[in-house]
């Protein structure tokens, strides 16, 4: 085991920013050390409240994250100030694999507060708006004592629904002036929203954006992901539409209050349990598939794939039979 990881890791990592930062890298690179760390820490996780922030590039996600973190650190008056972890995901270049991670630019207000930890992540080719290891990085922060974790997604578009299975509360951000027809927020992404925010409420067109969102909400008869239950006795979450001016800090406190109200809703209905189970199921399924894939690639004899391609090319073999043969060659037997 690496020197970073001992069996007392859950004690070591508590309040230890340097160790946390280094372990995040291990987890991000999917190293053996990273996996060891996650295994040891797992029993000590599940405590953090994870909020996802998604929406098109430029709507003000990072600015809102900045303000939300400030709001949480000021506290709600009732409780002690939570530690706030932030994960900001940006796209990787499909050509070079490199990335510019610039979200910290909007978060300079947070520097100097040791109760806040910001980590930028490149998506590294993943297309769901998060990096493949974002959930695991959140788990490390959870274990290190961060009670609130804010996750900013890439914001590239429609397929970004992954955040909804990671976050307890998903905030979808929109802004006026993105063009009402080609709204970044289409039905797909709207469905994952627990809270809708119209940021840049200082700009002309706020009412239009707000109205468009309200209309879409009604159209999809959407009242949070709990609505599927349908019966009148089950509590229902009404998705609020809130205004913010995030470069000035207006409205962030209300967003926090609504998030906490949503958390309360989750806790007092059966939604919390339901979502956590779904999330864990997703995770296990993904891990099983990843592991099988890795196992297959590792155990396949060197030229087997080339030979199969050749045989398929010359029409001497057929696809499904080839798959069976290739799986058998690396130790899987499905007959």
């Amino acid at each position: 085991m690496s020197s970073l990881v001992s069996s007392r890791l859950h004690e070591d990592i508590w309040d230890n920013r340097l160790l946390l930062a280094r372990l995040i890298t291990e987890v991000e690179n999917d190293t053996a050390t990273g996996r060891d760390a996650l295994e040891i820490l797992y029993p000590h996780t599940g405590n953090a409240y994870i909020i996802g922030i998604t929406g098109a590039p430029g709507v003000g996600k990072s600015s809102l994250v900045n303000q939300l973190a400030l709001a949480f650190r000021k506290g709600t008056g009732k409780e002690t100030k939570p530690h706030v972890g932030i994960i900001a995901v940006d796209p990787s270049s499909p050509f070079t694999g490199g990335a510019i991670l610039g979200d910290r630019v909007r978060m300079r207000d947070l520097s100097g507060d040791t109760g806040i930890f910001i980590r930028s992540m490149a998506a590294r080719g993943a297309i769901g708006g998060l990096a493949r290891t974002t959930a695991q990085v959140a788990r490390l922060m959870d274990a290190a004592g961060f009670e609130v974790i804010l996750v900013e997604t890439v914001g590239a578009g429609q397929a970004e629904v992954e955040i909804a299975s990671l976050a307890h509360t998903t905030i979808v951000v929109d802004a006026p002036g993105l063009g009402d027809d080609i709204q970044a927020i289409k039905a797909g992404i709207l469905e994952i929203a627990d809270i809708l925010v119209v940021n840049k409420a200082d700009l002309p067109g706020v009412e239009n954006t707000e109205r468009a969102l309200q209309a879409m909400l009604q159209l999809s008869n959407h009242s949070g992901r709990a609505s599927s239950a349908g019966s009148s006795s089950t509590p229902v979450w009404e998705v609020p539409v809130l205004r913010t001016v995030s470069n000035k800090g207006e409205g962030a406190f209300e967003v926090m209050e609504n998030a906490l109200a949503h958390l309360h809703f989750l806790r007092t209905s059966n939604e919390w349990e339901k979502r956590q189970h779904l999330r864990i199921r997703d995770e296990v399924e993904n891990l099983v598939m990843q592991t099988m894939q890795q196992h297959w690639m590792k155990n396949l004899p060197p030229s087997a794939l080339d030979k199969s391609v050749e045989a398929l090319y010359s029409r001497k073999a057929t696809p499904y039979q080839t798959v069976k043969d290739l799986l058998k060659l690396s130790g899987f037997n499905f007959d």
């Binding site: 920013r17 340097l18 930062a21 280094r22 995040i24 890298t25 991000e28 690179n29 999917d30 190293t31 990787s92 270049s93 070079t96 694999g97 490199g98 990335a99 510019i100 991670l101 610039g102 910290r104 630019v105 300079r108 520097s111 100097g112 930890f117 910001i118 980590r119 930028s120 490149a122 590294r124």
Partner: protein, 132 residues
């Protein structure tokens, strides 16, 4: 599995434009690196803390204000204090000839003037990382 060189590009001090820093950031991205860019007017404390949180492999400081002799040694000191003594620091910007050695003595790995080719910086970083 998926190792990437992570670089912090920071602009400490009060000078108001970051074109140079952005050029470097883009060049490093195009060389396949992950560049954390923190924007203008960073204090030494901000730089040292961002480097820690992001666990970067290397830190690049872009300074045009002339305040390099106070800012750079302070950043290196803070990075040593918070456990990053092994993280190399390079400086880019307008640095007078006679200050270059002062910075190198303070622990800076390399100093790049305005005329430096980004390919040189990329090469140097890749070599440094290969030695690690």
């Amino acid at each position: 599995m998926d190792q990437k060189i992570r670089v912090l590009i920071a602009k400490p001090g009060l000078d108001g434009h970051d074109r140079g820093a952005k050029v470097i950031a883009r060049a490093l991205r195009d060389a396949g690196m992950e560049v954390i860019y923190t924007g203008l007017r960073q204090t030494p404390e901000m730089v040292a803390e961002a480097a820690l949180q992001e666990n970067v492999d290397i830190v690049g400081l872009s300074i045009l204000s002339g305040a390099h002799l106070t800012l750079v040694p302070r950043i290196i000191e803070l990075m040593q204090a918070n456990g990053q003594s092994k993280v190399p620091v390079f400086v880019g910007g307008i640095i007078p000839e006679e200050d270059v050695n002062v910075l190198l003595d303070a622990g800076v790995k390399a100093v790049y003037g305005p005329g430096s080719a980004t390919t040189q910086i990329i090469d140097d970083i890749q070599k440094l990382m290969a030695e690690k």
